[in-house]
């Protein structure tokens, strides 16, 4: 029966090619626009650590006094102070934990005639790599001892390894960075989660990091932070050492816990820490708290999906709605023009439901065709986007999930649009049309 309806649908489409093509085109344009913005939205709101959402948490502490407006609704800053970072990292509790900052290095290649270049970097503890699923190609993360002793060691990315050494296993070699020498202990696959969830300080879609060094090197090498620093208190900061003991926020802190229960226990531990610091005269606010946010909460909290993208998404779905309303009109015109066919079929014994099914099948064919063409339009739209935003290379890519989603969306949308016209035609009174034959 379904195959028969499919055949009828195809015949009907061929019978009125212009209006059918218009309908396919209308829905394709709608799907194309919605698909383009949906793809960008999907990639932006993608959570690269979804599988660890109950395990990874960004840590915030309210160590500032009241009356300071932060960008966030809850009045917290998104980073913590260096002294808190050090204190917390000395406490046990989490499975893994790491204070971290984004930094950068002027790296000098060993070849005499080569000019130095900039490598993006990060200072963190050894826990960073297993915590965020970074894959090692050669070597390993630095050891616990190297973390504690602030050893000048580094883990580098594959791309930096290629640039400096032309590839291969170069564990044990040294790198000249910011005028200091670092020994390579590990080489990792380029780590570029989209978005770069663990540090959304300067936008969540910047370059991936190429050089990782132990966090404990901060006071030793006076490592500069390549991110924002937020101060809230009058402090005289004349040296790097002043900065380390200041109340300025400039360190990101991530912990890995075993799950939600562990999170509750750890929050208690943090509350105890806050109290302890208060007895020492810090954390002046009465509402001083510690907060843990999972990766998905963190992305949401930091509004990683841009406002423009949300507006475009909303407008493009309104646009899709216009295309659908348009299609309802065209379908109505098309179906009613052939009302006499339906009348005859009804007179020959077809039930209202069968007429409905037949026409819904036709609408479905239009929906699938529109979805296919619309996906093609989306690809064009994304190509256009990549022209407009050179930084969107990673972002504006369509995958199989999105493709299937678009075709499904298109089919459902078409079926919804077809419901009213098909119902109207199914309700046809056979007598009306038999009369005029």
């Amino acid at each position: 029966m379904l195959a028969y309806y499919l055949k009828l649908a195809w015949l009907s489409l061929k019978q009125s090619p212009v209006i059918s093509a218009l309908m396919v085109l209308a829905i394709a344009i709608g799907i194309g626009t919605a698909g383009t913005s949906l793809t960008v939205h999907y990639t932006m709101s993608h959570n690269p650590m979804a599988h660890k959402d109950d395990n990874l948490y960004a840590l915030q502490l309210k160590s500032h006094g009241d009356g300071h407006d932060t960008d966030k609704d809850d009045g917290l800053y998104y980073q913590i102070t260096y002294q808190d970072a050090v204190n917390l990292s000395q406490q046990d509790g989490p499975v893994r934990q790491s204070p971290m900052i984004r930094t950068g290095f002027t790296v000098k290649p060993a070849k005499a005639d080569a000019y130095p270049f900039i490598a993006d970097g990060r200072a963190a503890t050894r826990d960073f790599f297993p915590m965020f699923d970074v894959n090692f190609l050669h070597g390993t993360a630095w050891s616990v001892e190297q973390d504690e002793l602030a050893s000048p060691v580094t883990v580098i990315s594959q791309s930096l390894n290629d640039k400096l050494f032309g590839g291969g296993n170069n564990v044990g070699k040294t790198i000249d960075a910011n005028g200091k020498s670092y020994t390579v202990v590990g080489i990792v696959e380029d780590y570029r989660p989209q978005p770069l969830f663990y540090d959304v300080n300067n936008g969540a879609f910047h370059m991936h990091e190429e050089m990782f060094i132990p966090f404990s090197l901060l006071p030793v090498h006076e490592v500069e932070a390549w991110g924002n620093t937020n101060g809230w208190k009058q402090e005289e900061i004349n040296s790097y050492a002043d900065r380390l003991t200041s109340e300025q926020y400039w360190i990101q802190y991530w912990v890995e816990l075993e799950g939600t229960e562990h999170k509750a226990t750890y929050l208690q531990q943090l509350a105890a820490y806050v109290e302890q610091q208060q007895t020492l005269g810090r954390f002046p606010s009465e509402s001083a708290i510690a907060s843990l946010r999972s990766v998905s909460q963190w992305l949401e909290y930091n509004e990683v999906v841009s406002e423009d993208n949300r507006i475009l998404l909303a407008l493009s779905f309104l646009f899709l709605l216009v295309c659908l309303v348009n299609m309802v009109g065209l379908l109505l015109a098309k179906f009613l023009r052939r009302a006499n066919h339906a009348g005859i079929r009804r007179a020959l014994g077809a039930s209202q439901g069968q007429i409905l099914a037949q026409h819904m099948m036709e609408v479905m064919v239009i929906g699938v065709l529109g979805g296919l063409l619309g996906s093609l339009f989306s690809l064009l739209g994304l190509a256009g986007l990549r022209q407009l935003y050179p930084g969107y290379d990673q972002l504006a890519r369509m995958d199989f999930t999105i493709l299937m989603a678009l075709i499904t969306l298109s089919t459902i949308a078409a079926l919804l649009a077809g419901l009213f016209p098909a119902w109207r035609i199914g309700r046809t009174n056979p007598a009306t049309y038999l009369k005029s034959q």
Binding site: G179, I311, L318, G329
Partner: protein, 400 residues
């Protein structure tokens, strides 16, 4: 003349088609008016003047290799080398460049009292060459001279003198001259020695983007921005020589982000430009789809009424009368659509205002879009109406 009543009752007899067009026109109006408004806002943002000699400027970043270098004397050597390039008017190192989205700002108050004006000021550090390199215009007071520049200072030292943008000066000291007055960085008083017309901060999208200041301190960190002002015709030739010139002074550093200011501006507004273009595409597609919808439905309605049209023609109606009938019908539908749509547009504008940083939709956009849509839909209905007028009166006699 316009037979409004019979057309209206004819419309009421087959409601679904016209209702769909009304809905479609309403949605189109709501989206197009708001999208047009957003585009206009972005274009205005993109057209704002930085206040500097944009067509003559080149900017770039220098990252040093050795942390223990004497950065200030390095900067002076670099500036001298840059000024020696033929075609260069002036050159200066600073901590930031307008529109690059990266730099330093701090809160400065007009008074130590509670009621003082606080402003988040983007500050440009540099020596006496910075003012001329940027190409700023002095409004009152004076610019820094070599004697004013703090040469020997520690990290964290505060300036004692400042030049303010007119924007900042007027906010701090409304209706009076700022020159000679004090502003306060934390508890430290700083004397305002001059006011320049305009200088935009690195943050184009931030409010108070024109709240800027120049301070007479050279950049002593290992990372600096440089500005080179070249004669307009020489700019590209100068650009090519910069990297080699600086690496000749000292090869152990990295020159990055070497761009003319036009390129800096383009990067700064890339997202706004893209947003404007995307919304433009959405508007165009929407108008096309809507026009097609009108054509489709009008054709259908003509097709349905071939016999009646024939009858009217046979009874003496002129072709013009037939065309007028369909255009009037379309106009009535369209007016209902734009009426509903203007409510929709205002509702959408309200929604966008509540959820995003958008201003209220000016009525101008509503009116323009309404008129545009009426014209578009009349044009779209014209072809089917003309086709209707060609229906021969003889049709009325057939198959009755």
């Amino acid at each position: 003349m316009f037979e409004i009543k019979p057309i209206f009752s004819a419309l009421l007899r087959s409601k679904s088609g016209p209702l769909l067009i009304i809905l479609q026109l309403a949605l189109t109006l709501a989206v197009v008016a708001n999208a047009g408004h957003i585009i206009q806002e972005r274009l205005e943002l993109m057209a704002r003047d930085t206040g500097i000699a944009e067509s003559e400027l080149i900017g770039f970043t220098v990252s040093e290799m050795h942390m223990d270098k004497d950065f200030i004397s390095q900067r002076r050597q670099d500036e001298q080398a840059l000024r020696a390039i033929p075609g260069v008017i002036d050159a200066s190192a600073s901590n930031q460049i307008p529109l690059t989205n990266s730099g330093s700002s701090t809160t400065i108050s007009s008074s130590l009292e509670e009621n003082g004006v606080d402003l988040n000021i983007g500050y440009f550090q540099g020596n006496e060459h910075l003012f001329t390199t940027l190409g700023l215009t002095l409004v009152e007071g004076r610019a820094f001279t070599a004697n004013d520049i703090m040469t020997d200072f520690k990290l964290g030292a505060l300036p004692t003198q400042v030049m303010l943008s007119r924007y900042a000066a007027e906010l701090y000291f409304p209706g009076e001259s700022a020159v000679g007055k004090q502003v306060y960085l934390r508890d430290t008083p700083i004397e305002v020695i001059g006011v320049y017309d305009r200088l935009q901060t690195p943050w184009a999208q931030r409010s108070h983007t024109y709240a800027s200041a120049l301070i007479p301190m050279e950049n002593a960190s290992f990372f600096a921005r440089y500005l080179v002002r070249a004669e307009a015709g020489q700019r590209d030739a100068v650009l090519k020589q910069i990297e080699q010139t600086l690496l000749k002074v000292d090869p152990d550093r990295v020159i990055s982000g070497l761009r003319t200011f036009d390129q800096i501006r383009e990067r700064a507004y890339r997202n706004d430009n893209a947003m404007a273009k995307m919304l433009g595409v959405v508007i165009m597609l929407l108008l096309v789809v809507t026009a097609l919808g009108v054509v489709g439905l009008a054709s259908y309605s003509v097709g349905q009424r071939r016999k009646q049209i024939g009858t009217r023609r046979a009874l003496g109606a002129t072709r013009t009368a037939i065309v007028r009938h369909f255009l009037t019908e379309n106009l009535m539908i369209c007016l209902a659509g734009v009426f509903l749509g203007s409510l929709g547009a205002l509702a959408l504008s309200q929604y966008l205002m509540n959820h995003y940083e958008l201003t209220r939709l000016p009525l101008f956009y509503l009116w323009t879009t309404m008129v545009g849509l009426v014209v578009l839909s009349q044009l779209a209905a014209a072809a089917p109406a003309l086709r209707a007028a060609r229906i021969s009166p003889a049709l009325a006699t057939r198959s009755v």
